[in-house]
């Protein structure tokens, strides 16, 4: 099954070329240059991973990440940024990002992270389904 990915980056040239390469690898890719638009997209579609630029006009990547996580806590977010500082990466991870990759990114590494994100999300969804089932069975047995 293909990985479903949303890429959010205000650099349209980067967005186009990265999405083309990811599609060549069999991924289903949605792109947007606007973090506000990204919030709308995640309301109606599900993704295995979101690749999110850390610094964007309109709304910073951290704020976008927090708002996405509020609505969809299971979503796996990988930050991508031209700001290579360690502290930025640590901040992103502390907030609950799945990973942090500096630009220029190694696409093989990014692909690997996306596959991991898909597995992590599947485990989370499975756990939630089991917890829901357990709750229903417990209520019925009373």
């Amino acid at each position: 099954m293909t990985e479903k990915v949303l890429i959010v980056d205000d650099d349209k040239a980067y967005l186009n070329i990265l999405s083309e390469r990811m599609r060549n690898r069999g991924m289903e890719v949605t792109t947007t240059a606007s973090p506000v638009e990204a919030l709308r997209i995640v309301e109606t579609q599900s993704f295995d991973a979101i690749v999110l630029d850390l610094m964007m006009p309109e709304m910073g990547g951290i704020e976008a990440f927090q708002r996405i996580k509020e609505r969809n806590p299971d979503l796996q977010v990988i930050f991508l940024t031209g700001n290579p500082s360690v502290s930025t990466g640590v901040d992103a991870m502390r907030l609950g990002a799945m990973d942090f990759i500096p630009k220029p990114a190694d696409l093989n590494e990014l692909t690997e992270k996306i596959k991991q994100a898909k597995v992590s999300r599947a485990i989370l969804v499975e756990k939630q389904a089991q917890a829901k089932l357990k709750k229903v069975l417990t209520e019925k047995s009373r």
Partner: protein, 221 residues
């Protein structure tokens, strides 16, 4: 307690660091696009090895895209070079119109982050003052940074250089009252030694809708 000289030195280093970080970020974004184009070429070669015909028009598009990014990088590095050379001389004849245009280019990324547009109007005659170009850029940046914060998203800050009998001035305008007054207060409160060193004053105009940096000649360095 920091002395005026220390304050100026620290503000200068901070300014240089902020601009360098921003420029390096922009260069990294360009490198990222070039890197992906190189990666796409590798993908195409790999697919060609597997028997897929090569789409020549796609190769041409990659060449065009890489050239675009090289031009983008060249613009960034040219601005960086002009900025770096602004620190060459402690005092030299400086064109205020050119300096405000350079400030606009340096501040474009910050403006985009604030959601603010910056415009510069070329003065009808060159406005030349003898000053520290780097020190003045620093002061104008502090004012612009405050103006961008005060004016808010979706707005504009316009920079205009004008000749005066005392030397020259730079107006920050197009933001609405009572923004200008508070901007001036913030700018002055942040740094007092730098305007003194440049023999400059920063204040809102009488209508409180513009922030004006006035340069009085016979600078004290």
């Amino acid at each position: 307690m920091a002395t005026g000289a220390n304050e100026i030195e620290f503000a200068g280093i901070q300014f240089f660091g902020k601009m360098s970080a921003s420029i390096s970020h922009e260069i990294k974004n360009v490198l990222a696009v070039i890197n992906e184009n190189a990666g796409l070429l590798e993908d195409i070669c790999f697919m060609a090895d597997g028997g897929k015909p090569v789409d020549i028009s796609r190769l041409k598009k990659i060449a065009v895209d890489v050239k675009d990014q090289v031009r983008r990088a060249d613009r960034i590095v040219t601005v960086m070079n002009r900025f770096a050379h602004s620190a060459d001389e402690p005092s030299t004849e400086t064109d205020l119109g050119e300096l405000t245009a350079l400030l606009r280019l340096l501040a474009m990324r910050f403006a985009a982050m604030h959601g603010v547009a910056i415009e510069t109007l070329a003065p009808p005659v060159p406005v030349r003052v003898t000053t520290s170009p780097f020190g003045l850029l620093n002061l104008l940046w502090i004012c612009l940074d405050c103006a961008m914060t005060a004016t808010g998203s979706g707005k504009m800050v316009e920079l205009v250089a004008e000749k005066t009998t005392e030397g020259g001035l730079v107006r920050f305008r197009k933001f609405e009252q009572p923004g200008a007054a508070s901007v001036a207060d913030i700018a002055l409160g942040k740094l007092s030694a730098l305007p003194r060193m440049l023999n400059a004053t920063v204040a809102a105009d009488s209508t409180k809708t513009e922030l004006v940096v006035r340069l009085h000649q016979s600078p004290q360095f």
